[in-house]
Symmetry: C2
């Protein structure tokens, strides 16, 4: 009976990886995942056997990992960020349900919302929501409905997958929905390659964000109505009274 | 000129702490924070000088940390989970704005939403929201409005601070709001002491959750309408087609 570790690597470097994630990679007989994430793992553990597959191969990847674990291997199925936030934790549990001998362990990690927030300041330090703008698995009308509700809720928002080659205009469409309710001057920001060597970030308004070029390596933050810019950082107040 | 590391320790054990958080604790001249969190840090680094203060002392604690950093010390201001999720990152940045010589570094960590989700399965693997039920800094009517909007959005929800001695009935009131829109059979769960030795968890329905005794060490999860129970785990589907 093998173990299946579904591992959140964090954004990519060792600093933002948990000790538990590293221990799972060390313990595993094989590291399995999307090519770019397997490369992040083997940068730390270069001699591990790997099974890397291309983008879009989530089902085959999880099925392979469950099959190998059922055959007695300890498998680390790696995701960037957190395995339980837009990662493979759910799919792995669904597929492993047919193999009761497999011991599935979800190892949490620092998701892009947290890593990016730390770069920008403290935009998510009060209530917040994460929405993916990818309509690969969710119809756009469902995404639009969620955005309208969150705009109404008046909380901070973190947008995953703000754009890709096939949907270059999703961020603009999302901002137009938010702008129906939220002020054009709402403090916003984005972080590209959070926690990696090429990290970039920018603070801007919601009106400016609408026309901002972003890509699939970017995580976008829309502040709450109360979010302010403090010394170049996004800060959502929690309500402490700072006098003097 | 000192550095102020605002450190998310994760839930408490070394496994869920990032390498960067540990490195910041090691680099710091002094570890400052709420007593229980300072104890988590000194369990790993017992010989570090500390400055621990009681619950409710957030302003003094942050001001002390900024003052020491301005005086040239490297200070680790520790929070459980993530410093940028209901932690001290925002307050530290606001207070440090008056001391431009202080280099503030926010070190992200695994917040209770992610640690608890990994225990329960994959409830937050699609869009989700976190709401704190504490009305210490936010009026209850604001919290209630947010809950209504999130119920309408049809996404998973993670509730922080579901109860305390002074507000034993907040979870019941929150569930009553959610039940106006969401089905009584919605798959829910809670995790107490996530990532610690005394960890407990339970999967239950929204109707059952309403009357569940919880405390301030508990994090509560309300599934999306699509969330199901797979082999005892909460799983929110992402939309992959699993055939056969």
């Amino acid at each position: 009976m093998g173990r299946l570790f579904v591992v959140g690597l964090g954004p990519g470097d060792r600093a933002t990886m948990t000790h538990g994630a590293y221990a799972a990679l060390e313990a595993a007989d094989v590291i399995c995942g999307y090519t770019a994430y397997v490369e992040l793992a083997t940068a730390l553990l270069p001699h591990k056997p790997t099974h890397a597959t291309g983008m879009g191969g989530e089902l085959e990847r999880c099925a392979w990992a469950v099959h190998e674990a059922a055959a007695g291997k300890d498998v680390a199925l790696v995701c960037s960020g957190d395995a339980g936030v837009y990662g493979l934790a759910g799919l792995a549990l669904e597929l492993a349900a047919k193999e009761p001998s497999v011991d599935v362990q979800i190892i949490p990690g620092v998701t892009a919302a947290l890593a990016g927030a730390a770069v920008l300041g403290a935009p998510l330090v009060n209530d917040f929501c994460t929405i993916s703008l990818s309509d690969y698995l969710t119809p756009w009308e469902t995404i639009a409905h969620r955005l309208r509700c969150i705009a109404e809720a008046g909380i901070a928002l973190c947008l995953y997958n703000p754009a890709s080659r096939h949907r270059p205009d999703h961020l603009r469409k999302a901002c137009d929905i938010l702008l129906e309710v939220r002020d054009a001057t709402t403090a916003c920001g984005w972080v590209r390659n959070a926690g990696r060597a090429e990290q970039q970030h920018k603070v801007l308004t919601l009106a400016e964000l609408r026309d901002e070029p972003v890509d699939m390596l970017t995580t976008v933050f829309v502040g709450a109505p109360q979010t302010t810019i403090v010394n170049g950082h996004l800060v959502t107040p929690r309500g402490y009274r700072i006098d003097g």
